[in-house]
Amino acid sequence: MTQMTMGKALNAGLRQAMLDDEKVVLMGEDIGTLGGVFRITDGLKDEFGAKRVIDTPLAESGIVGTAVGLAFRGYRPVVEIQFDGFIYPAFDQIVSQVAKLHYRTQGRVKMPITIRVPWAGGIGAAEHHSESPEAYFVHTAGLRVIAVSDPQDAYRCLRQAIASDDPVLFFEPKRLYHHKGEVDLAGSLADAPPMGLARVVRPGADATIITYGAMVGTALDAAAAAEDEGLSLEVIDLRSLSPIDYETVTASVRRTGRVVVAHEASREAGVAAEVIASITEYCFEYLEAAPVRVTGHDIPYPPAKLEKFHLPDLDRILDAVDRVLDRPHSLSTADAKGDER
């Protein structure tokens, strides 16, 4: 076990994947000489050369589109999208090509493309640098979607994503890049749990908080704070958003009967909606209160000075916990109004 930041763990994961399989090539803007604006590819061009660590022209559709062509030729491209908000020019290639080519050719063509996305807010960035677009890809059949929350998972899941024969959207919370943790660099992929599984990061009995990405830390903080009030909250890190590991999720919900789902992304047709719709379907008779969502508002990401009013924080999660536990909470007085809606 080695202590390292998530950024370094991702770097180590890329390096190991390149050592494991010479068909792995990295592509993206500024990933070569600069090592990426977050330095996730630092040193890799020196080690593997410009043929495998490819600085690309500034065009995201071009990056993903040429990655598709490389996959046709037998390569396993790992694409870096510089920031979450810059993935949209590549949306057509991702949704109409990357996601569909395996199906379209009845399995004759594989698309083992990993698209890494430095992701989400909370870093005081300029516009388009704090987006949470994951739901778009969860809704897109043919893609897998991973969102990591700690260095160990980042290292393991990135290697698994690259080794997967399916295309994977790989979301890396930017505000955790400097977050440290123990990483087992030695373990073999064969022994590791598959990347599609969720994880109970904190066991608890009174309610379940389901979340992913940087919000896992916030949820853990909330659970710690609640403990002081005598509440025992379970926290689940989904890790995989497509597929979602409903075995782990429903096992928890059946025990607690009370659910909060939290994410930074906006609410309408987001991942929390999916999780709640599925939980309702699978665990209806176990639910003791309506599951509650704690999400970013349905607004464009606000300017940096206002982002704290958009991002779910510890207090908003605890308020939601109060709601699912039928304790006094912010909407108590509004409940009558809620009924009229």
Binding site: V25, K51, I54, T56, P57, A59, S61, G62, G65, T66, A67, V68, G69, L70, A71, F72, R73, G74, Y75, P77, P89, D92, Q93, S96, Q97, K100, L101, H102, Y103, R104, T105, Q106, G107, R108, V109, K110, P112, A141, G142, R144, S164, D165, D166, G196, S242, P243, I244, D245, Y246, E247
Partner: protein, 370 residues
């Protein structure tokens, strides 16, 4: 300060500014740039090119007929474009890999497509028409221009492998307006990838004349991206072959991408669902009928006394044979069973989709029980 290309806006004069080897009336003209690329093409070889074009036209008309008879959902005719497709397609090496649009029936033919390959997609049986590895062609592409980037990525892979294959991409005049096609030129040029861009300028993008996409020759765009280009008479099969050989040689020898604009004409509707009478003049069509690529090669061969009636009959027979096989393959196709919709979405198990498949299986079974 002024554009380095002259305006080309009408289908009438468009052909005058192209490179060619056989004039519309069938006479051979000398073309110092192109001639040397086809000095091995004797009359026997020309007769084979002629046969290819006739067979292709027959495949195409059979496609239209099958659609009319309800056997296909749609068909995208390529009549008029036989020289552009056969000439360029026959210049390819077996390992070159093609990224086509949806109208390259002739290129499929030159790659050895089987009869069912022409119709499987249009009949709605499968999204891809054939096994890409078998034909060295990527699946037909419907998203306009998307395939050009795939070709460039494939070409980057060729470079990486140190191989001497070439990635070839076909696209239409309308496609040149898509961002992807321009990005493809940029990436190809930047990496000097072995890619040949073949733009079949058939003068129309559904109802839109090429002048809406560009008032200047499309081939004129490539040099600005550092890509040499050639504007060739797309109804002259020899010129198309010669130009393609030049372009392939350029790409294969490590110099980077090359670009062809084959100036031709879509004589049919956009697809069987389209009604060109709504937007184009009969006179324009008549003009281009006079420039028919097949008639032109026939005139050339006949004038040289190199085309006998018996030969023509044998050609017609091979065409009819292919059409018959194609029809039989089409009509005999078996639609896959319901649960096939869940197959090959992913290469590895996906628990969410498995759950849906199980539920749907149970749902279907509930009918059988009842």
């Amino acid at each position: 300060m002024s554009p380095n290309t002259s305006p080309i806006v009408d289908a009438q004069n468009d052909l005058e500014l192209t490179e060619r080897i056989i004039a519309p009336d069938g006479t051979r003209v000398s073309n110092p740039q192109l001639d040397r690329w086809i000095d091995d093409i004797d009359y026997a070889a020309m007769r084979e090119l002629h046969r290819d074009m006739v067979v292709l036209r027959r495949i195409d008309s059979e496609g239209v007929a099958l659609q009319r008879q309800g056997q296909l959902g749609l068909w995208a005719p390529c009549n008029g474009q036989e020289a552009a497709q056969i000439g360029t397609g026959r210049a390819l090496a077996p390992k070159d890999f093609v990224f086509p649009s949806y109208r390259e029936t002739g290129v499929m033919y030159t790659r050895g497509a089987e009869p069912g390959d022409y119709v499987r997609m249009w009949r709605g049986e499968e999204s891809a028409a054939y096994d890409p590895a078998r034909l060295s062609i990527a699946p037909l592409q419907i998203i306009i221009g998307a395939q050009t980037l795939h070709a460039v990525g494939y070409g980057m892979g060729i470079l990486h492998d140190g191989a001497d294959d070439v990635a070839v991409t076909y696209f239409g005049d309308g496609a040149t307006s898509q961002g992807d096609v321009n990005e493809a030129m940029i990436f190809a040029s930047s990496y000097r990838a072995p890619v040949v861009f073949v733009c079949q300028n058939n003068h129309w993008a559904i109802s839109e004349p090429v002048g809406l996409q560009s008032q200047y020759p499309l081939a004129g765009r490539a040099p600005g991206f550092g890509i040499p280009s050639l504007r060739v008479d797309g109804n002259d099969v020899l010129a198309c072959m010669a130009a393609m050989r030049w372009a392939l040689d350029y790409a294969r020898s490590g110099k980077g991408p090359a670009y062809l604009e084959a100036v031709t004409y879509r004589m049919g509707p956009h697809t069987t669902a389209d009604d060109p009478k709504r937007y184009r003049d009969d006179a324009e069509l008549a003009l281009w009928r006079d420039r028919d690529p097949i008639a032109r090669l026939e005139a050339h061969l006949r004038a040289a006394g190199e085309l006998s009636d018996e030969h023509l009959e044998s050609v017609q027979k091979s065409a009819d044979d292919v059409a018959r096989e194609m029809r039989a393959a089409c009509i005999g196709m078996q639609t896959r069973p319901a649960l096939a919709v869940f197959e090959r979405v992913y290469a590895e198990p996906h628990s969410g989709l498995e759950r849906q498949r199980d539920d749907y299986t149970a749902y279907l079974a509930s009918f059988e029980e009842a």
